[in-house]
Structure formats: C-alpha cells, structure tokens
C-alpha cells in the first residue's frame, strides 16, 4: 500500500519520481484549479456586464448605497495580506521559520479582518432590508427601478458571498500551512505547499481587486454631487 512504500526524499509521495516532478505537478494543479476559478466567477461577471450595461443608472444608484470606504479599506487589507503572503513564501525559501510563521499569522489576521468588515457590511444591508429576497426587500430610493436595483444586489451578494467563501477556505488552508510550518515540515528544499497555497491566496485577492471598483465605485460620482 501507498504508505508502506519507502520514500527516498522527505515529503516525496510514493508515486512521484522526485521532488522536482512533485512540485511541478502541485503547481500546475493549482494553476489549473485557478483557471476553473476564473470561469466560476466568470459566469457572474457575465451577468454583471450584461445588466450593468443595460441599466447603468440604476446600477450606479444601487452602488452608491454601498460604503466604498469599507470596501476600500478591505481592498487595502487584502493587498497587505498578499504582501505578507508573498513574504511568507520568501521566508520559506530562506528557511526562516520564525518569520515564516509571523507572515502566515499576519496573513491570516488580515484575512480575518476582511471577513469581519464584510460581516459588518452584510449586517448593514440586513438592517436596511437591502437583501434581495422577495418580501424582505425594501427599496424607497426614488428615480430608480427597484427591480434593477435588486438585480444589482443579487449580483453583489452572489459575487462577494462566493468571494467570502473563498476567503474562509483560504483561512483554513493557511491554518494548515501554519500548523505544518510550526511542526518543521518545511525546508528550503521542500516548501511547495506554502507556495501553492500562496497562489490561491493571491488569486482570491485578484478577484477582489476587480470586485471593488465594479461593485462599490459605480455611484461614487453620485454621492459627490
């Protein structure tokens, strides 16, 4: 059976010939997965593009009811977390356990911050009845079509919800990596799990880089006037 097979290298699974091959497989696998993720969000982007360009005014008004300051804050939080993630990879390459752990911890901290802020925003929507569910939805803003606004919020919740789900999964992965790092599982030769989960984390950041302007900033010029 698999586990009884003697491994020549620490961290090498039985069915690979060497670490190089294993690492290549892992990284290619993650990239392939990220491509599926692009398409996964792609379906929602398609809906967004269609309706946003069909109902620009209503989308702008709907968007102006989101707090771009919170969204912007979250953007910055995620970018910082991406930096700490990148640094975590750097320290794993260098074999610096202490800083690896620190960077991973910071990454998780920022990720959690993001989720908390997201929760605050969702709660605000709940309080103001701006969650698009029939009989719950309540919209009084004049000069805008409640139906179109509901579609905006439907897309908003779908996209940010799925994104938040990815964040939660990302935190889980980071916790595992942290645990592995703490138990000295990584060496300068073998640290591909850190790198590969880093790819995932950065991807989730990229999604938000798109979501922020597309969802939060449509109505910025409206609030200005």
């Amino acid at each position: 059976m698999a586990d009884s097979h003697p491994t020549t290298h620490y961290g090498l699974a039985h069915h690979f010939d060497n670490l190089e091959q294993q690492k290549e497989a892992g990284s290619l696998g993650m990239w392939t997965f990220l491509i599926t993720e692009i398409m996964f969000f792609g379906g929602m982007f398609m809906a967004y593009i269609l309706y946003r360009s069909s109902y620009p005014q209503d989308f702008a008004i709907a968007s102006s009811h989101l707090d771009w300051k919170l969204g912007g804050f979250n953007t910055i939080v995620l970018i910082v977390s991406s930096l700490t993630m990148a640094m975590a990879v750097y320290f794993s390459q260098k074999g610096n356990k202490k800083w690896l752990l620190t960077c991973l911890a910071l990454t998780m901290l920022f990720g959690a911050t993001f989720l908390v802020v997201k929760g605050v925003e969702y709660h605000e929507k709940y309080v103001t009845h701006h969650i698009p569910i029939r009989d719950f939805w309540h919209w009084t803003e004049p000069n805008s079509d409640s139906g179109h606004v509901q579609m905006f919020y439907w897309i908003y919740f779908a996209m940010t919800g799925v994104h938040a789900l990815h964040m939660v999964i990302g935190l889980g992965i980071m916790a595992v990596i942290f645990w592995m790092a703490a138990r000295n599982r990584f060496t300068p030769e073998y640290h591909s799990p850190v790198e590969i989960s880093g790819l995932y984390w950065h991807f989730v950041d990229i999604v938000w880089i798109f979501l922020f302007p597309l969802l939060y900033l449509l109505g910025a010029h409206l609030t200005h006037h």
Partner: protein, 551 residues
Amino acid sequence: MSTEAEVIAPSVNYYNVAYGVKSWLLTKDHKRIALLYLASVTLFFFLGGLFAAGIRIELLTPKGDLMQADTYNRFFTMHGIVMVFFFLIPSIPTTLGNFLIPMMIGAKDLAFPKLNLLSWYIYTLGGLFTLLAIVLGGVDTGWTFYAPYSSNYANGNVLLAGIGIFITGFSSILTGLNFIVTIHTMRAPGMTWFRLPLFIWSHYATSLVMVLGTPVIAITVLLLALERIAHVGIFDPALGGDPVLFQHLFWFYSHPAVYIMILPAMGVISELIANMARKNIFGYKFVAFSSIAIAVFGFLVWGHHLFTSTQSIYAGMVFSILSYAVAIPSAIKVFNWTATLYRGSISYDTPMLYAFGFIGFFIIGGMTGLFLAALGLDIHMQDTYFVVAHFHYIMVGGAIMGYLGGLHFWWPKITGRLYPEGWARFGALVVFVGFNLTFFPQFLLGYMGMPRRYYSYADHYQVLNVMSTAGASVLGIGYLIPMIYLSWSLKYGAKAGPNPWGAIGLEWMTPSPPPTENFPVTPVVTWEAYEFRPIEEAEVVGQTQPNEPIG
C-alpha cells in the same frame, strides 16, 4: 484470442492486494477508484434506463394513459439528468480513463491520488442529492432547467437537483485537473507527446473542457436554485432580467459537455481500431490535434441551441458557421479511422464490432447535427424529436458503443478474465438492431413535427412511436446481455494473459490484472505510437517481459 491464458498470474495485483470494504473505500489506487466509478455509473445507467423505459411505454399510445402528465415530465427530466450528469459525462473518463491513463503513460498513479478518491466521493454525494430529489418526487424542468420556468414556476425539487449537479460538477473538475496534470508531468521517460496513445490525447482534450466549462454550469445552476428560494434574481424577467442569459450560460457548458461525452469515446475507438487492425493510425497527428480542435472550437458554438430562442439573428449566424467549423475535426477523425483499416490485419472480435457500430452511428448522428446547425432548418426542427434522435444517435449509438467496446477490450486487463466472445458478438448485434429501431423513427417523427417533451401526441405519430418503443425493448435487452455475461466472466471467465489481443501499448506489457503500482520498474519508451511488429518481436521491444511473472 490468445490461448496462452494459463500463464502464471502474478500473485499480488491491485485487485487482491487487500480485502474488505475499507480497503476499497479508502483506496488511493487509480485502478480501484476506476472500479468504484464503474459500479456507480452502471447503477446510474440502469436508473436512467428505467426512466427511459417509462417514457417509451407511455409513448406507446397517443393519449396519456400510463402516468400523469406531471409524472411523465419528471421521467424525462430525471432520465436526462441522470444519463447526462451521472452516467455519460463521467462514464469513460472516470472508469477507463482512470484505469488506463497512468498505465498508458507509464506512471504509477495519477498525479493526485487522494484528489482522485475525493472526486469519487464528491460524485457520490452529488448523486445522493439527486437520488434524494428523485425519491422526494423528482424534478419537472427538463434537464435544461430553463428559467423562468424552473426558477419561478416548476413544482419539483429543483433546489436539490441543482445542488446535486453543482456538487457533481466539482468531481468532474477534479478529475479533469488530475488528468491534465498527470499527462503533463508523469509521462515515463521516452514517452513524448507524439508517442502517446490517442486515448491520452482525447482525454487531455476532454479534461480541458471539464476544467474550463464545468465551473460555469456549477455557478449557473446554483444561482438558479437560489433564485428559486429568494423569488428574486438575475434571470427573472419581472425585474428586468433576461431568461435567455440563463440559456447562454447553460449552453456555454452544456454544448462543450457533449464533447466531454464523445471525445473519450473517440479515444477508445482510435485504440480499438489501431489494435484490432494491428496497424498504426493513419494520420496520427491529425487525429491527435483534431481532439484538441474539437475541445477548443467546442466552446465557440453553444448558441446553436438558441436559434429559435429570440437570440439575435446575427449571433445565430456566428454560432452556425462556428458549428460547421467544429464538424471538420470530427470528419477528419472518421476519415482517418477508415483509412487506418487499409492494409491492416483486421479482427472481428467484439470490440471491433462496437467500433464499426460507433463509426456508423456517429456519422448519422453527426451529420444530423449538421441539419440542426443549418439555421433555417433548425427553426423547424428545434425541440422536435429530430433533435432527440440526433443526440441519442451520438450519445447512445456513439458514446455508449464506444464505452462498451472499450470495456470489452480492456476487460481482460481490468479483471484478468476473458469474456465469452460468442455471447458478446450476439449482444453487440442486439444492441445495434435495437438501437436503430428505437431512434431512426424519431428522425422522421421529428421532421413530421412531433415536439419533444410531449406526454401525449397526435394520432398520426403513433405508428413510428410504436416502432420506437419496440426498438427500445430490444435495446434494453441488448444492454442486459453484456451486463450478465460480463458479471459471469468475473468468476467463470477464462484467465487472460497480459496481452490477449496482441495489442500494443504500455498497459499490455504488465500483468492482468496489474500490480498496485502498475509496473515493477518505470518503463522506458523507445518506440513510436502503434508501432506494430510481429508479435514475438514486440515482446522484445517492451522493457518488461509480458509473459514473465513480475512481482
């Protein structure tokens, strides 16, 4: 058939290496996982077939008499969902593909064995949700789930079925991902891309489609299901949403998905034809690249399902012309298969009979695809039985023939046993006859105007419908025959040697059934694909001695 079956079977193989339910449910061996899948997809096939039987019996008479209209609607919906998502899409890749890909490229396993097992569990979970939906009364939306009917009007368990499909989608994604990575990184030394068996090329192409397309259906069906709960959503015309957007997103996956169903079968056919004619494939590179071309172009044609949906007529034109473009690589394959027979050494064993059947059905199914892709003609044919006949010709006539052919061909490798050849040829014949009788009349019905998804129909369609039902009963028996003798052969079949067909390919150079890590030593490939030599010589070429006990 080789009679050297009585070689000393290696004492330990993947099959007898461990016993007990746990050793199967926790296995990471791709060969065992393939068998898990084989059991599950067979189960779903018979479930889907049960629904088909219900459909055909109901359609025996013009008036609805066997069941209620609502029940009938659930029958064809569940038939479509089960057959497409739970049988045909996983069928060849997860069974034959899973079993053979590592062996054909000379690897010990897929790149991610745990992921492989996980995808079986995910598939099973999705299947359970769908079964639950069936048990709780089924779904009545058609397998296409068009909004706003399914989001706001349907009275079935759309949510459960939607979740089932969403979950199963991930199993498909993981399988595709695993294959892609495996084929890229795990090839044995000397196994260059152009030495790969065509089965590998077609599975690579299939995996591309799985990876790029499946996420879209997953999110689309999920959004639809949620829309049903919230009574609000992006496909809801009452809000200003566009139901046709759903159709775009649905077919963005579901058209490429038809190539998920046919490409693996095409790969099987390439193997069967080369090996049963003991000859190199004519135009290897053309056949190889046509698989990739089908996968890529396959993504550009989904709008041909929307010709009558009020899609813009200009978009209709674009999608129509691209649909013809995707037919070309299919044509290339058919011609090259035929040309491969030239100067071969052709055997008439069952796998080859299925291969011949495949080609015939695929030509008819594919050519009738050209009817449907012709814009002005599709106006008349869309949503009639002509479409039903078209896709059954390709999916049942084509893909399932390919699957059965492959199953017979590799059965000795998988089980170490030979199936009874006489019965098998008889079974293939019954399937062939039953199939044509079932589905050819449906072309005529369709052009005469009988719409699909009709529970009752006008009297003048009855004669052809009776023929179709009669054919379906023959076909059903035809499918039971292999089921019976294959099971029988598990215990009573003659023992097979490593290479009963005199075939070529790494999988034939290891014992049947193969040991856990497939090869005692990683093979080194020094020969081109399908490079047939006189039998004795081929054995020398192989790095492993086929008839020697290895362990």
